[in-house]
Amino acid sequence: MPISRAAVLDWITASAGAIAAERAALDRLDAAVGDGEHGTNLDRGFQAVLGKLPDLADQDIGAILKGVGLTLVATVGGASGPLYGTLFLRMGAATAGKAELALDDWTAALAAGVEGVVARGKAAPGEKTMVDALAPALAALRAAAEGSGLEVALRRSAAAAREGMLATVPLVARKGRASYLGERGAGHQDPGATSAHLLLATAAATLAREEGRAV
């Protein structure tokens, strides 16, 4: 069963809900190593996305994801705005014109998105950024794509993001605001890796559902 347009809309809606619910927790993580507003930034962006969704609802998946990306770029700000914006813009470009996505399409889309994030932010894995959740998620997806179904693949991908997120705790940041802290930043989980995991966990919970559940 492929990923439907409705499932993509579901994913975006549920992500906005998850970010809103975790806003304060993300802010707290960011306060420890940064400036304390990563959750507020993303929540502002995803609330704006919710406002745009009705206009996007009858478009193809590529247009939907591009619309999400443009909205995030224009409303989030900070480091995460251009980065998540690029993620969705690239995913939108990779899925242009599509009404549904097979597992391979989704994998290709995420690959394009992560590549965009790395191109913009220049973070290598292990530098304590959202890439530390995104890159393993992509790798797990690729590995799972050979043989397992969509649902399993998405769940493995989310699990890998979670591992990557947790693995940021002991790291010393080399990118973004947390890098200013030097050794003092070790011992704290990266907020961007945390929000990236949130998006991918939400993807696992929504994208493989039956068509037409909710919008």
């Binding site: 306060a31 507003e37 700000g77």
Partner: protein
Amino acid sequence: MKKLLNTPEGLVDDALRGFAAAHPDLVTVHFEPRHIVRADAPVRGKVGLVSGGGSGHEPLHGGFVGRGMLDAACPGAIFTSPTPDQILAATRAVDGGAGVLQIVKNYTGDVLNFEMAAELAGAEGIEVAAVITDDDVAVQDSLYTAGRRGVGVTVLVEKICGAAAEGGRALDEVAAIGRRVNGQGRSMGLALTPCVVPQAGRPTFELADDEMEIGIGIHGEPGRRRAKLGTAAEIAELLATPILDDLPFRAGDEVLAFVNGMGGTPLIELYVIYHELARICAGRGLRIVRNLIGPYITALEMAGCSITLLRLDDELIRLWDAPVETAALRWGS
């Protein structure tokens, strides 16, 4: 959280409304997307200067829009870089045909958003150059960080580039002057108290009554280390020494000394720090020939200060002295 505001969400726009009401002779304020533009922009044939960054650093940057300084400022949410659409709108509004210079503090968020805006403006045929300020010596090893932060020197770059642009210099010349200022300037800051980001409602870090946070930026982020509260003499030494050693500043240098308040520290204390700084500079044989003392690049209500030293030459002195007419800096005519 004790602040003069209506709602945390509305703070930036309410303040911008006040700014618009107060200074219609100097600026026009746009809200969708947010940007503050010099009242007579675009100035034909003049390089347009655009800066911006998170709000909460006032008077930076909006207070520096006007004749002889910035053409536009893009205020983001509190401590959050502005978005590319704001910067693009500002760029269009100030392009007088001679190109636009972005003055960007070196934070990942600011750099990425200004970069995206520059790409979009470039696609529209507007020539864009950028000066990235990264003067904060508290962040020492740039190989393992996002690079030094841009702090106090940003104000000086904006003033000096503003004068150069007003004087008719070309885009690449104004950019080169900006990079020279950034290259010859160094800063370091320290907090006595944290600040509260209104939407979070909690202090950004905790400090005991006898502690200070050394090597802070301007976003309420924790600093490099924490120490027992020192005297003004010790604090000035603590901030000035890494600055002096880093460039390094040398006996005989003529410098501009900038003692900046972080928002919650009153002027009387900044003058105490200036006194100590002047003593330290004299001890090293530096001649302070210009100075700036006050809260110009702040972190909400944080108590503390930063010191910036800029090595001057005749051209920079002339540009510093050139007339400026903005909400927060005014001299000459």
